[in-house]
């Protein structure tokens, strides 16, 4: 198959591509700036520019495009050639970093997704089967069980990122109703690999724990019973590939890539305590926190980073992946505290987590 992958230089995109190439598929990677496509362990995937038509099995072709422009920023002829030669679309491109202006999330995550839907639906003859990488956190802030069939429950959102992913998934669902064959994949929080925590892009949970473990912010409003659901990148990529390869079976469904052992904050603290250099954050109830008077650097770190993720420290949503198992039965090779320990160990080893002060 010839598969168009967006977000090819992202974590999930690159790892999925590596697996799909190995399986003999041809990949056309739509990249924002033509650069190298590197897997999570730093391996460069050799590629050549896409000039139209079909490539060879196991070949990686790249084409520079932009989800924020009409026609994906491609030359009209190339757009057409791509459209007619592609058998599947894997849309994993998204702005995932927190703290960016709202309109950027809208432009990339929502409007960009609509452009990809158009690309797939307007192929002359038949729609191109479409796999969309959503996020578990379209669940928003509403507590309770969140199953594969759940979606709009009137939830509020903890960040513009989440809200944008919710709107994008709405567009996918609408397209599905209009005849686009789709599979929606919702990964939980993606972290380093299950073998030794290897990670090339430190973001989200890493950014938060980099600050708290260094003791730069010691107190966070939160609930010890709140849970964070982390999953290893290698397993997520396996899940995406399973969705692609079992498309006809998975079509019309939503797959959950979440762990069997979500981590309660108190368990995360247990793992932090295994590292001599780490401070263990205090979680205090919100009403107490507001009276807590932060000063100087701590306040700055809190406002600029921790605050963006604050809603995650209160959430008690239970994710299930019961019906996902029909398509992708494998459990994460490492999860829960074991996975987090690997993730932290790796981040310490490469110097991402470090104490910035000699104060205890």
């Amino acid at each position: 198959m010839q598969i168009l992958v967006t977000g090819a230089s992202g974590l999930v995109g690159a790892e999925a591509i590596a697996r799909l190439l190995k399986a003999g598929h041809t990949i056309v990677a739509l990249v924002h700036s033509v650069g190298n496509i590197v897997t999570n362990d730093g391996t460069l995937l050799p590629s050549r520019p896409y000039t139209g038509g079909r490539g060879n099995p196991g070949e990686l072709l790249t084409v520079k495009g932009d989800l924020q422009q009409d026609g994906l920023g491609l030359d009209a002829e190339l757009y057409k050639q791509l459209q007619s030669s592609v058998d599947r679309v894997l849309h994993s491109a998204a702005l995932t970093s927190f703290g960016r202006p709202e309109e950027r999330y809208e432009a990339i995550n929502v409007v960009g997704t609509q452009r990809m839907i158009d690309f797939a639906m307007k192929k002359p003859g038949a729609c191109i089967p479409f796999i969309y990488i959503s996020t578990m956190y379209v669940c928003g802030e509403r507590p309770g069980i969140f199953s594969e069939t759940a979606f709009d429950r009137g939830q509020s959102f903890g960040s513009p990122y989440e809200a944008s992913k919710f709107r994008a998934e709405s567009l996918i669902r609408k397209a599905q109703d209009n005849g686009l064959p789709t599979v929606i994949v919702r990964p939980a929080i993606i972290v380093g690999d299950s073998v030794d925590g290897t990670m090339r892009k430190f973001d989200t949970i890493y950014a938060v724990y980099r600050i708290t473990t260094a003791g730069l912010v010691r107190t966070i409003p939160g609930d010890y019973g709140a849970t964070l659901d982390i999953v290893p990148i290698d397993w997520v990529a396996d899940g995406v590939v399973a969705a692609l390869e079992n498309f006809s079976q998975a079509q019309g469904r939503t797959l959950h890539l979440c762990s069997d052992q979500p981590l309660a904050l108190r368990e995360i603290n247990d793992v932090c305590a295994l590292f001599p250099s780490f401070s263990v954050p205090r979680f205090v109830p919100g009403h107490v926190f507001h009276s807590y008077d932060m000063k100087g650097l701590e306040k700055r770190y809190y406002d600029e980073v921790i605050n963006l993720y604050e809603s995650y420290f209160r959430r008690q949503t239970v994710f299930v992946r019961d019906s996902t198992r029909d398509i992708f039965a494998k459990a994460p090779p490492a999860q829960g505290k074991e996975l987090l320990h690997k993730v932290f160990s790796y981040a310490v080893k490469v110097g991402y987590f470090r104490r910035t002060t000699h104060e205890i």
Partner: protein, 556 residues
């Protein structure tokens, strides 16, 4: 020293009659003599150890029966054929799997096998021979050699680790142990398989090891610390290790890594750092805490300790790391080869109380400064029980070494005497440490150093201890003088916590017996609390049954 066969047969016959209750209804399949006399060592004070093999499908306790016959102490053990066979085959299997597996065999098991293979048959030689052939002398020799080789390598690496952390005295103590066991490995390859340490001097002679090498070994072993720097001493030690065919120890500090230990975690409360080690919790002062915060697992200790402010700050950091390791908060590893298996128990703790010892043979001591008639003890119950059992053990160790010393002195075995006197002082130091609740106990190598470091000892006692630790014995008179000095030092160490700490006398049979009975009281409490029991001189975890056996063998 050998005893003639008919005398032994006669002794066995008397033993059998005295043990009618045990042996009247049971016909042993075979009987043999084991231990120092069977091996051709021993002296007039040595015990006579008989073992009867029973093959009736039951599993006997290893508890020996103690008899006094013809002015000799006689121990009789019953051993099932099934157990003997199983243990011999386990050693054989480990040997096939390689040195790593051999190193996992417990000292006790290897010693049981060795004593059997090196035994003197009393009844049914053919039966004994057929069981011995399951392993054989040659294979046993290889297993013993490998076991000591591994121990020498690990302890040698630990010595390097101690030097890396500028713990010069500890480095000396460990390299001494390492070279000693390398010599044990070396003679084992030459047919001297007996495990006990005290006869090494005789084994080196019998194995006809090059005289110059032996002389260099003893010079090294008895060298005083003021004679050379610790680094020179380690260089000499490592050269000897190589001559004794033990490789894998090098003076490369980059190899010494700090790694995590299970059950250890870090908790800051307010401004203060607390380290949890299983159920114990330690509070660090600011200096320690700063070093603790710098630790990154699996990193060379010298890298963690390095402080660009000054060499003194680096030295301080190394001291803290050594303390963390002794307290079992970090493990020391040898680059790429896992934990250094020399001192794996987190042993030493800060003193619980000021000047007075907390624990005596007959239980916990009341605080004199508190008027309360009922006092909550400042240690958890399990810790108290463990320390109590260890205190009893160490007292038994002192008495055994004293007996050995007396025997060696009478027979003029001066090298043996030197060893047993040191053992006496080491075990007496353990008694004192246990009295202060310091448990698990440090290994013998460190017992004296830890007592000096942690306990309030007066200068004359320190001087006496150091003399016994380092002085070479060249004459019987000098031996007698050191023996007297050791006796005096043992008394002082036992009395550290105050006179009422211990029963009036260990010198009388009844006083000693009372002490041993108190030991059973400790075992009862420790068993109830599922406490850790000391197993042997080389560490490990024992069981309540073994503990009872050990005590039983010391009621005399």
């Amino acid at each position: 020293m050998s005893l003639n066969h008919s005398f032994l047969l006669q002794l066995w016959e008397q033993s059998r009659q005295q043990l009618y209750a045990q042996l009247g209804q049971r016909q042993p399949s075979a009987v043999f003599l084991e231990g120092s006399i069977a091996e051709g060592f021993g002296n007039e004070r040595s015990d006579i150890d008989f073992v009867a093999i029973i093959d009736d499908g039951t599993e006997m306790a290893t508890m020996p029966y103690i008899l006094f016959l013809e002015n000799r102490r006689v121990e009789v053990r019953l051993l099932s054929r099934e157990r003997l066979q199983r243990e011999l085959l386990q050693v054989k299997e480990a040997l096939n799997a390689g040195i790593e597996s051999v190193a996992q065999i417990s000292w006790n098991q290897l010693e049981r096998c060795q004593r059997f293979i090196g035994c003197l048959p009393i009844e049914n030689e053919a039966y004994i021979k057929s069981l011995q052939d399951l392993l054989g002398k040659e294979a046993l020799g290889r297993a013993v050699a490998l076991w000591f080789e591994d121990f020498a390598r690990q302890t040698g690496r630990y010595a390097v680790a101690m030097l890396a952390l500028e713990q010069d005295d500890y480095a000396r103590a460990w390299i001494k142990t390492s070279v000693f066991h390398a010599a044990k490995s070396f003679v084992a390859r030459r047919g001297e398989r007996y495990l006990g340490s005290k006869w090494l001097s005789l084994q080196l002679d019998r194995a006809q090891v090059d005289k110059k090498l032996v002389q260099r070994f003893w010079d090294f072993y008895t060298e005083k610390s003021q004679d050379s720097s610790a680094i020179d001493y380690l260089h000499k030690g490592i050269a000897l290790l190589e001559e004794f065919s033990v490789s894998g120890v090098e003076l490369n500090f980059e190899k010494v890594l700090a790694d995590s230990r299970a059950g250890v975690s870090t908790w800051q409360i307010g401004r203060h750092l607390h380290i949890l080690r299983d159920e114990d919790i330690f509070r660090l002062d600011d200096g320690s805490a700063r070093v603790w915060r710098r630790i990154i697992w699996n990193t060379p200790c010298i890298q963690i300790a390095h402080d660009k402010r000054s060499t003194q700050a680096t030295t301080d950091a190394k001291n803290h790391l050594a303390d963390f390791s002794r307290a079992g908060l970090i493990s020391l590893c040898w680059g790429g080869e896992g934990e250094i298996r020399a001192r794996q128990l987190g042993t030493s703790c800060p003193l619980l109380t000021g000047k007075a010892a907390l624990i005596s043979v007959d239980g916990a001591r009341l605080s004199a400064s508190s008027p309360a008639g009922i006092q909550l003890l400042p240690v958890p119950a399990r810790r108290l029980a463990e320390a109590g059992v260890e205190l009893t053990w160490a007292n038994i160790g002192v008495e055994n070494s004293r007996e050995d010393s007396e025997g060696a002195l009478r027979s003029g075995q001066l090298r043996v005497l030197q060893y047993t006197l040191q053992r006496m002082i080491q075990t007496a130091s353990m008694v004192a440490l246990a009295g202060y609740g310091i448990t698990p106990q440090p290994p013998l190598e460190e017992a004296v150093l830890e007592a000096l470091r942690l306990l309030p000892l007066n200068p004359s006692l320190v001087e006496a201890i150091q003399r016994i630790e380092t002085e070479s014995i060249h004459s019987r008179e000098q031996g007698q003088e050191l023996f007297n000095l050791a006796e005096q030092s043992v008394r002082e160490l036992r009395q550290l916590g105050g006179d009422e700490q211990f029963p009036a006398s260990f010198d009388t049979a009844s006083g000693w017996c009372e002490t041993v009975m108190y030991g059973y009281d400790w075992i009862n409490l420790a068993t109830h609390l599922n406490a850790r029991f000391p197993a042997s001189a080389v560490g490990g975890r024992g069981s309540a049954e073994e503990a009872r056996d050990l005590l039983a063998s010391n009621i005399g």
